[in-house]
Symmetry: C2
Subunit: 179 residues, 2 copies
DNA sequence: TACTTCATGTAAAAAGTTACATGATTCC
DNA sequence: GGAATCATGTAACTTTTTACATGAAGTA
């Protein structure tokens, strides 16, 4: 049971999903490829933390829809109370800007603008996620509380949005430093 | 040549250092243990990107002080112009807050406060780094430009500080949501 | 015709963490 | 007396990424 396994249980605690869907929905908050997720789901099933049913589809490939068990929910609740690992960020850009004086200004600017495009796309994706959440929610988002099912996603999007905004401000500030 | 290898070259481009020192100085921007760094330094030496000299010490263990070569500098300059990998962040807290409704308010608050302590310590460490940099710099930090040797570290600390501030704001906001 | 999406899986390689190993000095 | 710092290294393990494998439907 590693962190990603608990992450998958977290998603399944809200809604039953296929491995493919889990991969798509966990991406914004924990980068993981399908090749990592499928074996973990098999393992979670072996442990009794999830069940699955085969769902046959005619237009699309068949799928396995996983559901969390009572035992899985217990494991999840316990994991939350355990000390939380420190976050890990690895950003190649940090290592590059440290040596940015080695290249000329045009090249330095290019490096930053490439990253700015990335952050803008990311910001847009979070805006879409928030929009979807708003549509599906009975209450206005800022009135959600800990017991509402949308609460978790709402606070996560807020967290990610604040950080991407900080990143964009830094990019602009940095570009100013180059002129 | 992976990203960490270029990160080590980046540090060595400013100043010759031992493996132990490299480990300490790269930590705030790229998490890596000594067991990963020592083999990479041997590899960089084999490639001709770095040289080293044995430095004998009487009070402390002897060390190997690495210096970047012209070839290493060329490799570094080229790497900067290459497309930059997307940043990777893995934060167990994100996965936990998604399911925070599963535990009671005291437990939820504990999870957040634990993380807040972590961010405050981190903020302090960056404040120290900035203080050290200020001491060793001829110019005021906000007047540094791309050609000053302190520039890279200055902009990195600024980047990290902005993000940790965003994280702290989120923590407070989040704690408000729990009451 | 070629690419993307949906859907699941395995194999191999790379990257990263933890543990083992040694040993002097300094600080509490 | 015990822990932390300095200093380098290897071995084993876990985690993550990339590549291999298949195949139908829809889109450009």
């Amino acid at each position: 049971m590693n962190t990603l396994s608990y992450g998958l249980l977290s998603l399944l605690a809200k809604k039953s999903r296929s491995g493919y869907e889990l991969m798509q929905h966990i991406q914004p908050f924990w980068q993981a490829k399908h090749s990592q997720i499928y074996p973990l789901l098999a393992q979670l099933e072996g442990l009794g933390h999830v069940d699955f049913v085969h769902v046959l589809q005619s237009d699309k490939p068949d799928k396995k829809v996983y559901t969390i068990t009572e035992q899985g929910l217990d494991a999840l609740r316990h994991w939350i109370t355990l000390p939380t690992d420190d976050p890990v960020t690895r950003d190649e850009l940090s290592l590059k800007v440290y040596s940015i004086g080695l290249v000329n200004q045009e090249q330095a600017r290019k490096v930053l603008e490439e990253r700015e495009v990335y952050y803008l796309k990311k910001k847009e994706r979070f805006a879409h996620l928030l929009e979807n959440l708003k549509q599906g929610s009975a209450k206005p988002l800022d009135e959600l509380d800990i017991h509402d099912p949308e609460f978790g996603m709402y606070v996560l999007i807020h967290k990610a949005s604040m950080k991407v905004d900080a990143d964009l401000v830094w990019c602009e500030w940095m570009k100013g430093k180059l002129t």
